[in-house]
């Protein structure tokens, strides 16, 4: 299996590990997803298109992808700020906060949804002040963004943190002796260096947010055409025993996410090759 397929290396275990990887991947991920695809395509082309282009579905894509994109962007900014703060500054409680970053992973999504709704509802701790400003968070698309931001936060912080730790201080020192100001150093030196990591974090946060269901339904309001997310639409289809339609919606989300993940991975592989190109 390894003729011109891979570059030679003296390290052993390629066949074994790649074999196990592909086997496990096939059994746990690919086979089930194949079932999804088969189910989705079982309904006939015309129905398939009809399900996917239903205005309600289209509206839900807009919300799901739009809110996920917005949440991932917010996370990219604030996740970076948090990672920076955790890496570059020392302050009381830093370690605790560092540990809490992973919290959204462990917290059942329903709990985060319920808790967020409690906080951001009009009578909630934060919601009441926002309400005075005329901003309603819970039961609007803003609420969806808030929930998705929480879900995606650890991805960005945890991607950026090691990259920031690794940024060579020499580079910053060099830039400083050459006369660059702090913001200029940030923009021209630090940002390009950690950009791949930030991109990874962004992609993962986005991918995770697009499919999120548990936390969103509590805070979204779920009004058709307004605050209805695609996963909810899938659940609705299921409630009506329309498995194929549900699978079709799931399938289209999968395709979009896959395309996005793949393009980012390719971009990064390309970037890595470019930066570690020959010349040694």
């Amino acid at each position: 299996m390894n003729g011109g397929f891979r570059q030679p290396s003296i390290l052993p275990g390629f066949g074994l590990t790649l074999g196990f990887t592909t086997f496990f991947l096939s059994a746990i991920v690919l086979l089930p997803l194949a079932a999804l695809v088969v189910k989705a395509t079982s309904m006939g082309w015309r129905d398939f298109i009809e399900v996917l282009t239903d205005p309600r579905a289209v509206a839900s894509y807009r919300l799901s992808f739009g809110a996920a994109l917005l949440a991932a962007l917010i996370n990219s900014v604030f996740g970076f700020v948090i990672a920076w703060t955790l890496v570059r500054y020392d302050f009381p409680g830093r370690k605790l906060i560092d540990a809490l970053i992973d919290m959204p992973f462990a917290l059942p999504t329903a709990v985060s949804g319920i808790a967020l709704t409690a906080v951001f509802a009009e009578n909630g701790w934060i919601g009441q002040y926002l309400a005075q400003l005329g901003i309603q968070v819970a039961y609007t698309w803003i609420g969806v963004v808030v929930a998705l931001t929480l879900i995606g936060l650890p991805f960005v912080v945890r991607s950026v943190q090691p990259a920031l730790l690794e940024v060579q201080h020499d580079l910053e020192d060099a830039a400083e002796t050459l006369g660059a100001g702090r913001f200029y150093i940030f923009r021209r030196i630090i940002l390009p260096t950690i950009l791949p990591a930030l991109l990874t974090g962004f992609t993962l946060a986005f991918a995770r947010a697009v499919g999120e269901y548990g936390s969103v339904i509590f805070i979204a309001g779920n009004l058709p055409l307004k605050t209805e997310i695609t996963p909810l639409l899938i659940v609705i289809k299921l409630e009506q025993f329309e498995y194929a339609a549900a699978a079709a919606l799931g399938f289209i989300m999968l395709i979009m996410s896959f395309a996005m993940l793949l393009s980012i991975n390719l971009l990064q592989a390309w970037g890595r090759r470019r930066l570690t190109a020959s010349g040694r």
Partner: protein, 367 residues
């Protein structure tokens, strides 16, 4: 590499090894956990009946032991009515199903052929040992002066109800509102629905009903996925002026959640909600539990079962028991699904299926 360094690492490895052993043990116990000596039943039900069936199970097990000397233990499964039906269709081995609406059991019948088509006639009262109806929950002191259905579409009133697409209970809410509007337009005579001579009038009434329901749902700020979610939104988050809810849910909420902050308003007319029960034939036949499963459901009709239903705020079928709890269940003019919508399948197809009336009132184009 130095000693301490290795130790940390070894302890991690040891921990991982420990986890592996634990996993193997767990797998073994999971596999061995098939049958125990006593009979077990699985009752697949929907969310609000959890407390009720807990008591029923205990009482029935006692009675069954007395009558037959056999121990029976009943496991419960609760979730949304629709998703429970789906679970049974996909292979959840329920001996009995006790769901929110007949449509869900019909679906099991239709999609899986796991029970006979005539299931609803096998037990008395449409196989619904207890009933409920749809009432309103309002804030203490009823500040918006909500007395009946028309008050829900007064200016400035905001209504909370769950999403009929995902919640069985919400479908009752929707149908109650629709039924009320029809009832009113037709001058209280629902029999004219079947009268070909009154076709014109019925069409006008239907249009009025649709307008009413549309207006009602335009005041809904949150469509929770489930009934309990909607109750929490109303009581805990203080969203909305009125919650449309099952009577049993409203009574429970009154007791469980912040007593004194909400009160119940009973409308003039409402729907007779009949949560049905059924034995899943393929399962009981395979497992040999038909006898006990049927006894279990029959127990619901016994005086003891009816008392328990009333205690958990379901309207008992048994008139004596109902009278005993009269204070809790004020008289109300009730119409049935059959009277207004023929049957659940028709109602579902017309109102809740994709492109149905519910989609229409949200401006989704008809297909």
């Amino acid at each position: 590499m130095n000693g301490t360094h290795m130790n940390v690492w070894q302890s991690v490895l040891r921990a991982l090894r420990g986890l592996g052993v634990l996993a193997a043990a767990a797998l073994l116990t999971a596999c061995g956990d098939g049958q125990s000596s006593s009979i077990t039943l699985l009752n697949v039900s929907y969310d609000p009946t959890r407390e009720f069936y807990r008591d029923v199970n205990a009482a029935f097990a006692r009675e069954w032991l007395e009558q037959t000397g056999e121990r029976v233990s009943i496991r419960q499964s609760h979730a949304g009515s629709g998703s429970q039906a789906r679970a049974v269709i996909d292979g959840l081995d329920a001996d009995v199903v006790t769901l929110a609406l007949a449509y869900d059991i019909d679906s099991i019948q239709r999609n899986g052929k796991r029970l006979a088509a005539n299931w609803q006639t096998r037990f008395p009262d449409n196989s619904s040992p207890y009933t409920s109806t749809i009432v309103f929950l309002v804030r203490a002191g009823n500040p918006k002066q909500i007395r009946d259905w028309p008050d829900l579409i007064k200016p400035g009133v905001s209504v909370v109800t769950p999403n009929p697409k995902t919640s069985g209970g919400a479908r009752w809410n929707y149908l109650a509102a629709w039924g009320y509007a029809l009832h009113k337009e037709l001058g209280g005579d629902l029999s004219r629905l079947d009268d070909p001579a009154a076709a014109e009038q019925v069409r006008a009434a239907e249009a009025a009903a649709e307008a009413f329901v549309k207006e009602l749902f335009s005041r809904v700020p949150v469509l929770d996925a489930g009934a309990r979610g909607a109750t929490n939104t109303f009581v805990q988050r203080q969203i909305g002026d009125v919650l449309i809810a099952w009577e049993n849910e409203a009574l429970l909420a009154l007791r469980e959640l912040k007593p004194g902050t909400v009160e119940i308003v009973v409308p003039s007319t409402s729907i007779l909600a009949e949560p049905p029960v059924a034995v899943v034939d393929t399962v009981v036949d395979r497992r040999g539990t038909r006898q006990v499963a049927e006894a279990y459901l029959k127990f619901l009709y016994s005086t003891e079962g009816q008392e328990l239903a009333a205690k958990h705020y379901f309207r008992p079928r048994n008139q004596e028991v109902l009278e005993k709890y009269r204070e809790q269940f004020p008289p109300i003019e009730l119409f049935t699904i059959a009277e207004v919508f023929q049957d659940w399948n028709t109602a579902h197809a017309k109102h809740f299926a994709d492109g149905g009336v519910f989609d229409r009132i949200y401006g989704v184009k008809a297909q």
